[in-house]
């Protein structure tokens, strides 16, 4: 796609398109080379499915050994994947308009949600945040979906917490949004959590990340703390998540 983001399309015999819902992820066995030997599988959100039933798409950021190895895959080669895994974004049939706030590769996770909303005739407000206009990947996110798009950038300060707060407030005030979805930035998540206190009628969902080994709920490596009506508990990002209510995230402490 560009220097940092790569696109991967896989074809399988199984009906991946039919089996996969927005927000779900797969675990990818990255290729092994003499220089790169990623041991664990890598969790990767589904960026898109179809048009063939066996086709599935990923969009990823080259950050370390696994994604670097992925980027060496040649067209036509095969890899093993496990999935679909995890829960999904919830989009009730009663929903009329949603807001999506995406940053970075978080857009990959939310792209299928846009498709689903558009197909269901649901209105979409999209806020996209990036370092600079050239990093935005607007077309890759929207993929021809019609939305009310707002772009903010680090380069001109429009992505600052204050500026975004004003923007989101303005948008939420000017039209009713049934749900706000986000992915890709802890800062934005915290902002939305705070803002949503003032919009009790609006649900919020976030797709979270955490280090994983099994990806299936077995190993307990991927836990984060959540607050379910005052009852704080550790939940597995791979199993109870990756999508959680924004209001339930306990974000006080970062452990690395």
């Amino acid at each position: 796609m560009n220097d940092r983001y790569k696109y991967l399309r896989l074809a399988a015999d199984a009906d991946l398109a039919g089996a996969t819902r927005p927000g779900q992820f797969y675990q990818l066995r990255c290729p092994t080379t003499n220089d790169l030997q990623p041991f664990l599988l890598r969790p990767m959100s589904v960026y898109g499915v179809g048009p063939e039933s066996g086709t599935i798409e990923f969009l990823y950021n080259v950050t370390g050994a696994g994604t670097l190895a992925l980027s060496t895959l040649e067209v036509g080669s095969g890899i093993d994947i496990v999935g679909p895994l995890g829960n999904t974004f919830v989009l009730e049939s009663s929903v009329r308009r949603i807001m999506v706030v995406a940053r970075g590769v978080g857009l990959a996770t939310m792209a299928p949600l846009l498709q689903l909303a558009a197909k269901s005739g649901i209105g979409i407000t999209a806020i996209m945040s990036a370092r600079a206009p050239k990093d935005l990947m607007r077309d890759e996110f929207l993929r021809d979906v019609d939305a009310d798009v707002h772009c903010v950038y680090d380069s001109d300060g429009s992505s600052s917490v204050e500026a975004m707060e004003a923007l989101v407030r303005h948008l939420l005030d000017s039209r009713n949004h049934d749900v706000v979805y986000t992915c890709g930035s802890h800062r934005i998540l915290m902002l939305l959590q705070r803002l949503l206190e003032n919009y009790p009628q609006t649900r919020g969902e976030v797709a979270m990340e955490q280090r994983m080994a099994c990806g299936m709920g077995v190993c307990l490596s991927c836990v984060r703390l959540f607050d379910k009506d005052g009852d704080k508990q550790f939940l597995r990002v791979c199993r109870e998540g990756p999508v959680f209510p924004i209001r339930e995230v306990v974000g006080e402490v970062e452990f690395g």
């Binding site: 066995r29 030997q37 990623p38 041991f39 664990l40 599988l41 093993d80 496990v82 955490q210 280090r211 994983m212 080994a213 099994c214 990806g215 299936m216 709920g217 077995v218 190993c219 307990l220 490596s221 991927c222 836990v223 984060r224 550790f234 199993r239 452990f255 690395g256």
Partner: protein, 316 residues
């Protein structure tokens, strides 16, 4: 079809392949028919409630991974009520793994979990002993003897002692466990390791150190299984880096009566079934009728060293 059935003491398994504690949970029913496994070994539970270790809890290594999950637990009542029933629904014996902080706590916990629906208790004595400064029970023959004796007094259930490869006098530790009444040994747990991010200078695990598992430790685990096999008469369950039928056979030849598969399931949740099928294929290819006949059958040429010495002595 070869005969894959094995015995671990009095205890019969349809085949020698079972999961390793902490690397298996009911969710794998989505990837495997749990009625095909030799046994179902559940993640360790401790009588004390605890949250487990800080995140990040896993990081990868060459041919392996480090984990510092810890033993998150909501206590034995919760476990019995909310965790266990999902496993006892299958036609496969259930192994409950216990961790505890002190000798008495260990013995009491094993007693409490010696339930009719539980086939075997595995005592994870590789966990820290608070009465010995946090050093694992199985690090010395003495502490091993003490905790295994206490457990044995409190249960009539078959019970396995899971040893740690971090213990250097492994043959003596194994002997102590046998003498104190363990029905079998599981050899073994993870090897203590550490990994540092050279950019951030931080340990890659929240808990600083963690257990190395996976193919990287296989030669160490095979060696220890063989050392235990030479030291005790009770059966040994091999564990450490097994990810194929050939690996399983290697442990059987070294002296194991059955094997546990841990980390490999994270890379392929269906791997245990492949190992079972592969064992059958191996037996048929090699003309082995009963997989249990492989135990301890490594062919060590006791005269080799002598022959070599005589041969070498010719050299100037």
């Amino acid at each position: 079809m070869a005969n894959l059935a094995v015995r671990v003491g009095e205890f019969c398994l349809r085949n020698p392949v079972m999961p390793a504690s902490g690397c298996f949970a009911i969710e794998y029913a989505e990837a495997l028919d749990l009625n095909n496994l030799g046994a179902l070994v559940i993640k360790s539970v401790s009588p004390k409630s605890r949250a487990g270790n800080p995140t990040p809890r896993v990081t990868e290594a060459y041919s392996g991974m480090l984990n510092s999950i810890g033993i998150p637990s909501k206590g034995l009542d919760y476990y019995r009520r909310e965790v266990l029933p999902a496993y006892t629904r299958y036609d496969t014996p259930v192994v409950v793994s216990i961790s505890a902080d002190t000798v008495d706590e260990f013995a009491d916990a094993v007693a409490e979990m010696s339930l009719p629906e539980v086939a075997v208790i595995e005592a994870n004595i590789s966990c820290p002993n608070l009465e010995a400064d946090g050093m694992a029970f199985a690090m010395t023959p003495e502490t091993t003897y003490k905790v295994v004796t206490a457990i044995r007094r409190k249960t009539n259930h078959p019970f396995w002692a899971k040893l740690t490869p971090n213990a250097s006098p492994i043959a003596a530790v194994a002997k102590a466990a046998e003498e104190a009444g363990a029905d079998a040994l599981v050899m073994g747990n993870t090897v203590l390791g550490m990994s540092i991010d050279v950019r951030t200078r931080k340990p890659k695990l929240g808990n600083v150190m963690g257990g190395l598992s996976g193919p990287a430790i296989k030669p160490i685990a095979v060696r220890m299984v063989h050392q235990c096999y030479r030291s005790v008469r009770i059966p040994i369950i091999g564990c450490g880096g097994i990810s194929s039928a050939d690996d399983a056979v290697e442990f059987l030849l070294a002296g194991a009566s059955a094997v546990q598969v841990g980390t490999a399931s994270f890379l392929d949740p269906g791997v245990m079934q492949k190992i079972i099928d592969g064992l059958d294929a191996y037996c048929r290819e090699m003309g082995v009728e009963n997989v249990r006949d492989l135990t301890g059958q490594v062919e060590i040429d006791r005269q080799l060293s002598d022959r070599w010495l005589r041969f070498a002595q010719q050299s100037g």
